[in-house]
């Protein structure tokens, strides 16, 4: 199967400080991919760079191919047609991501006009259909309201409706539930899962919440300090995380069921991009690191069991596999 998006050696620097160190990433049509990592790891920057949405102080290199067409070198007009038309994006704080002085219905219509050429009554009818689809109650009467008249959860539904307006092949959801209350998070995650299934649209779900990613995605990439350090199928990654960082994330997160255990924090903090360690960026915090790790930067390499891994001394696959399976099944 041909990939929908192929990112190769994507690098980003802000004011000369590199923050993304060569990302290779494929998205297959219709698949749900999770991008996990802590703040500053580059998971949002990857996709903002791919769509040319970073501010001017950012320098981007590498290639981003959408079904063979390179977006990095594409003319501005082409890129504008891709944004929202082929690849749509929703963001973390929905209330500030919608324009406060434009009626919400008009914001959806704008996307319909740009990507499907709809205007007038047809556009309005389609916008109302989309608002219904994402679960805005009483859409007809709330079409002409403004953003501040909607709650955070509803604003995120509106963002999703706007993203769907261009009938995209890929939806990038950048921390779409982080700013929302728990019960509303559940609604939005549920909506995203349903929409993806019904519209056979690929989804990239960017989140710091491993558990949320597990619910929405089939495949996961874990990022650390501007690199992908482990990639694999959700079940595989969650049952037997092999990169010490991935493993560390699991041990650091409290659980809601199962036996109570003391959390195992990852010592230290995420490195400053200006003072990145010379070898593996995680080495200073890693309990498995050896002298080798502080000199050699590991490549992301395919493993026999199907995943990709960037670690010289990964967590052995047999280690307490039984225990972990009990915990997560």
């Amino acid at each position: 199967m041909d990939n929908l998006v192929e990112i190769r050696n994507l690098r980003v620097a802000f004011d000369g400080v590199p923050v993304l160190h060569g990302i290779d990433l494929d998205v297959a049509p219709g698949e749900a991919l999770g991008l996990v990592g802590e703040s500053g790891c580059g998971k949002s920057v990857t996709w903002l760079a791919a769509l040319g949405l970073l501010p001017g102080k950012a320098t981007v290199s590498g290639s981003v191919r959408l079904q063979g067409q390179d977006l990095a070198t594409a003319p501005r007009r082409t890129l504008e047609r891709v944004r929202g038309g082929r690849i749509a994006m929703i963001f973390q704080d929905p209330s500030s991501a919608l324009n406060p002085v434009i009626r919400v219905g008009q914001q959806i219509i704008e996307a319909l006009r740009l990507h499907r050429g709809l205007t007038g009554a047809a556009a309005r009818a389609e916008a109302l259909r989309l608002m219904d689809l994402v679960g805005i109650p009483d859409a007809r009467n709330r079409f002409s309201l403004y953003t501040h008249e909607f709650s955070g959860g509803q604003a995120q539904r509106l963002m999703i409706a706007m993203a769907l307006a261009g009938e995209p092949d890929l939806l990038i959801a950048d921390e779409p539930t982080t700013a929302l209350d728990a019960t509303i998070q559940a609604q939005i995650l549920d909506l995203l899962v349903t929409l993806r299934r019904e519209m056979s649209m690929a989804t990239v779900f960017i989140s710091h919440d491993l558990a949320a990613v597990a619910q929405v995605c089939e495949r996961v990439c874990v990022m650390y300090a501007g690199k992908i350090i482990e990639e694999g199928h959700v079940g595989q990654l969650f049952e037997t995380p092999r990169h010490p960082y991935t493993r560390g994330l699991f041990d650091a997160i409290p659980t809601l069921s199962g036996p109570l255990r003391r959390l195992v924090p990852i010592p230290g903090t995420v490195p400053d991009p200006r003072e990145l360690p010379p070898g593996c960026a995680f080495a200073p915090r890693c309990n498995r690191a050896r002298a080798f790790c502080s000199q050699h930067r590991p490549e992301l390499l395919p493993q026999p069991e199907g995943r990709q891994l960037a670690c010289a001394f990964p967590v052995p696959i047999t280690q307490d596999i039984v225990h972990r399976q009990e915990e997560y099944q």
């Binding site: 903002l48 769509l51 949405l53 001017g56 501005r76 007009r77 504008e80 047609r81 891709v82 944004r83 929202g84 038309g85 749509a88 994006m89 963001f91 704080d93 500030s96 991501a97 919608l98 324009n99 406060p100 002085v101 434009i102 704008e110 996307a111 740009l114 990507h115 709330r142 309201l145 403004y146 501040h148 008249e149 909607f150 963002m159 706007m162 993203a163 307006a165 261009g166």
Partner: protein, 309 residues
Amino acid sequence: MIRFVTSRLFRAGLTVLSVMTFAFVVLRMSGDPAQVLLGPDVPQNVVQDFRDRWGLDDPIWQQYLSYLRAMLHGDFGLSMRDRSPAIDLVMQRIPATLQLTIPALILQLAFGIPAGIYAALKRGTLADRGVIVTAIVGFTVPSFVLGLLLVLIFAVTLGILPSGGASSWQHAILPVLTMSIGGIGVLARFSRSAMIEVMGQPYIRTASAKGVSWGDVVRNHALPNAAVPIVTIVGFMVGSLIAGAIIVETIFSWPGMGRLLIVSVTNRDLAVVQCILLLVAAVMVVSNLTVDLLYGWLDPRLRQTAPAH
């Protein structure tokens, strides 16, 4: 919306009343008009006659009440100097002042706002820095210095424009320039920061992410949001234009309201001063009211609406 308008109107009324009271108190406290207008050598009975005619010996609160009553009836009193109605004197001068202030305001809007927005969109470039420096110079040089400088260059050295008076349209050029340059600087700087602020907002990224072209992002998504703070500063600038008129009309001997005010203050011509102050206050109040109403129109968050539940 009705609540909004009534509350603003009420506040406007209160402001006008405060200004009237203030004018009354300050002018009564700062010297005896009889002495100033008649001079020190006039016989006592003439002074007394003058005081009786203008009610200057009545208790102060009675003077205040009759003053307010007269104002409410549109009677601004007679000029103490030549006994013609104060309002007529002031009205005669208004067109001349408008001949300066309106072109100045138009220049400020036409150059200040676009320059600021342009600088914001070209942030960090040489063009941006050029705009900032020019703007700072523009609004830090006081208008009397600027006025004299312009006279020195264009009237004295080059001799292409007149240095004072009001007999032709060329006479208006230097005063209008003097009045507008500071405002252009203020407006440019303010528009720039408003636009930079808006361009950094998440909804601008959203608009780009949905495929809106850069020009349309600026026009349709950024400008309507930046308009709210820009309109505020324009409201303030109408006030500062009138203050500027007083100085500029004096420098260029322009026969407007500002010069009338200076002359009347020197002469303690209470009725005329009160009339001008009130008019200035009214202009300020109206421009603030316009700004408030524009706010409601520009920013839906400030309109009262039923909660969406």
